[in-house]
Symmetry: C2
Subunit: 457 residues, 2 copies
């Protein structure tokens, strides 16, 4: 396995030989507070940041006259989507085991496959395929938790994406950490080794769940995260069974249990949160915990529908995630936004429960807030990092277009994304990848897939 | 408006200057009873029918040696999808009015827009855009109900699609039928005028609902359908309010009310069926009524989730539909299959409730059964009509592929469809349309859209 590390500096700072970028002519959906779509927009990017945005006549081209122009006529320009929860390397297990209950799926299918096949090389290629798929469907930043996470960091760096990459911690023998006694030492080493590898990548810890990690492990993971001023991720209240088991084992519901351990604060990112009572929602809101909604995975495993509208009303900062490919089975945030809106409406029996703008907010400003990057990404505004995507609006399923936000959420899918820019660097242009050799990556993963199929037979 | 009618005969019979078609090298997902995927398949098509299908070595090429070859290596070949309920021309209203309750959406937004803008020309272009979008996303046959339906018949004929096209009947002044007293006369004329227009198109009647049509209208529509041996469509039990109102007005739940009118038999196609009790499900099963599940529309309007698994267990023949673009907002059956599976799982709290194969069955064999064409379409089998689609499996989100059915339902979307064949005629090849000028159609619809926007402002 060879990793491209030579262009690290230029990538981290988003320079392209000093060239600025001008995106012109499209409708900009900026997601900035109170701002509607800007038709005929121009966005000027320099040194990885947006230096000007507005109507063409009201913006300035770079004064040195040196820039690359992207024509966005007949297109929508919007902030790059933020996938607030996934396990990128699990592309390896896409469609390996469907239509099963979570516990059977996890313990009989996924954990054994992971134990048999995961190693630094397979994780690298699986994660790179995840990056490829995310770029292809308009994700520019993602939050990941998995094993051999240094490999995922390298894949993300190769891809040129932004993200929070967390080392998985579980109190069982795990890929790369055969002795659970070593799991926190390994997580600390991960943070220290990879923390300064790329300006685009933040390291972190991901505790698998309150039932698969002991109270001591959870507290220690929290302490290490605090020492390094990093967020801590955890799967929380995904299934009714998990809530019951937590009550049986610890005498209280999962949120109260984590509260007693002292984990609830604004650096905790809780994922799933399907089965919460009103008191738990209030406590999560009070303590500033961030929540990631992963509706498709929760539906596919039959776990339930999270009370998104209620959590948002309580003032909780929320993002949207696809979860891993083993339980979705794709990384397309456009589909996830649509599902989030439609599922909330039907679950709440209220078509106003989660509208298109709110769904797009979950995948942009919401995701940015979850990882504490709301001042850097999530909207198209002067001074922010140039993370943006361009959606081709010439397809039959996007015609006519009365409202670009409705079109993005209810009609578009990831395949409509034409161009992807992260930190001012073009990662996909006219659906051609600039940082990843797609054929090589898919070829490697198909080979790994054959090994996985061999295990199954 | 010019309609291409010159090539009617050759289209209807699927001839292409006498040339046969051979699709070779892909994995065939035939949907034939008990048959798994066939890797390295060859499908031979002649005179609009499948004349041979199997592994390459076990099939015969056309004896005259004259055929067009489609290379399907790295692709999946499957039966064309059947959209069992839509209103194609409502593409005109895509995204015009989202995030509203059904009654307000229908009476304050959609009905007024329809009254202001629908005429033979706008319906033609709207329906042709619907056909374009369906071809682009792998639908080869659809069931439609709308106004100015002769125009939709002509659009479907231009597109080369197959379908059941029904004239809308409602006891209000309607587009093209200003006096409701004329609605059944108009429907009868539609059937008689368009019934023999194309071998690919069956005419019919679509009664809007038990509350918007009187008992007399429903009975008369049923009689006309019987006289012509045609199916009758109706929206049924879509919302809780509709059920309540039916009880208030007629003293019984909708299914029992239709039963009393004598409408329940195997020629009735009931759409939505969200709010049914067990007795109603049993009665629909007993009488052989066909049901169309339209999950995304039901979700978007907050109407509810139909008890699909329970209806299937009761033995009801079921298809899958997108509904119109005003309440979905697209015509992509791939997304609809995924939503059907995931929604059933979470609604029933059972990940086994509706698996990938069942979802694909709803959109193929199920749809064929709903319209009584199960001996002609819905599977890839010798002797059946050559309605089939080829899905490119080279995209990152379809890699790796352990199971093509899982990939089709949980990972693919309509944009992955590469080629579309109806009755042996190629309607899309390498994503280029052969029967429709896409730019012209989208241009016309955008012009109509501007008029609609003008009304709104």
């Amino acid at each position: 396995m060879t990793l491209m590390e030579d262009d690290r500096d230029s990538q981290a700072h988003g320079r392209q030989g000093g060239m600025s970028l001008v995106i012109e002519g499209g409708t900009a959906v900026t997601m900035a507070q109170g701002q509607g779509p800007i038709p005929g927009a121009r966005i000027v990017v320099s040194d990885g940041r947006i230096v000007d945005i507005g109507k063409i006549g009201e913006t300035q081209l770079p004064p040195d006259g040196r820039f690359e122009m992207i024509d966005a006529a007949d297109a929508i320009v919007l902030p790059g989507l933020i996938n607030a929860h996934t396990h990128a390397a699990m592309t390896l297990f896409r469609g390996l085991a469907d239509d099963l209950p979570l516990k059977q799926w996890l313990f009989e299918k996924i954990f054994p496959a992971e134990a048999a096949v995961l190693n630094p090389e397979t994780v690298y290629w699986g994660a790179l395929l995840g990056c490829l798929e995310m770029i292809a469907s308009g994700t520019t930043c993602f939050v990941d938790g998995y094993f051999f996470q240094g490999q995922t960091v390298q894949a993300v760096h190769t891809a040129g994406l932004r993200g929070l990459m967390a080392q998985g911690v579980i109190d069982f023998p795990a890929p790369g950490v055969p002795d659970p006694q070593d799991n926190l030492r390994s997580a600390r080493e991960f943070i220290e080794k990879w923390g300064r590898f790329s300006d685009l990548i933040t390291p972190g810890i991901f505790c698998h769940s309150p039932l698969t990690c002991s109270g001591r492990t959870l507290r220690d993971a929290w302490k290490i995260s605090k020492e390094h001023d990093l967020p801590l991720q955890i799967h929380l209240s995904e299934t009714v069974e998990e809530v019951r088991e937590t009550i049986t084992r610890y005498g209280e519901r999962p949120v109260h249990y984590l509260d007693r351990l002292g984990l609830l604060d604004s650096s905790l990112i809780a994922v799933h949160c399907v089965h919460l009572d009103i008191e738990e929602i209030e406590r999560l809101a009070e303590t500033g915990v961030k929540i990631v909604h992963v509706p498709e995975s929760n539906m596919k495993l039959g776990s339930g529908v999270a009370p998104v509208a209620a959590m948002m009303r309580a003032g909780i900062a929320m993002g949207l995630g696809t979860d891993g490919c083993a339980s979705n089975n794709d990384l397309d945030l456009f589909c996830e936004m649509e599902t989030a809106a439609k599922t909330a409406k039907v679950f709440d029996r209220d078509p106003l429960s989660l509208d298109a703008g709110t769904a797009l907010g979950l995948a942009t400003t919401g995701g940015a807030a979850v990882i504490g990057l709301e001042r850097e990404i999530g909207t198209l505004e002067k001074g922010k990092r140039a993370d943006m995507i361009i959606v081709d609006s010439a397809a039959p399923h996007l015609c006519p277009m009365y409202d670009p936000v409705s079109a993005l959420v209810y009609s578009a899918n990831g395949s409509d994304v034409r161009d992807v820019i992260v930190n001012g660097r073009i990662l996909m242009r006219k659906r051609q990848f600039t940082t990843i050799d797609a054929e090589e990556v898919m070829g490697k993963v198909r080979e790994i897939g054959k090994r996985i199929e061999g295990l199954r037979n």
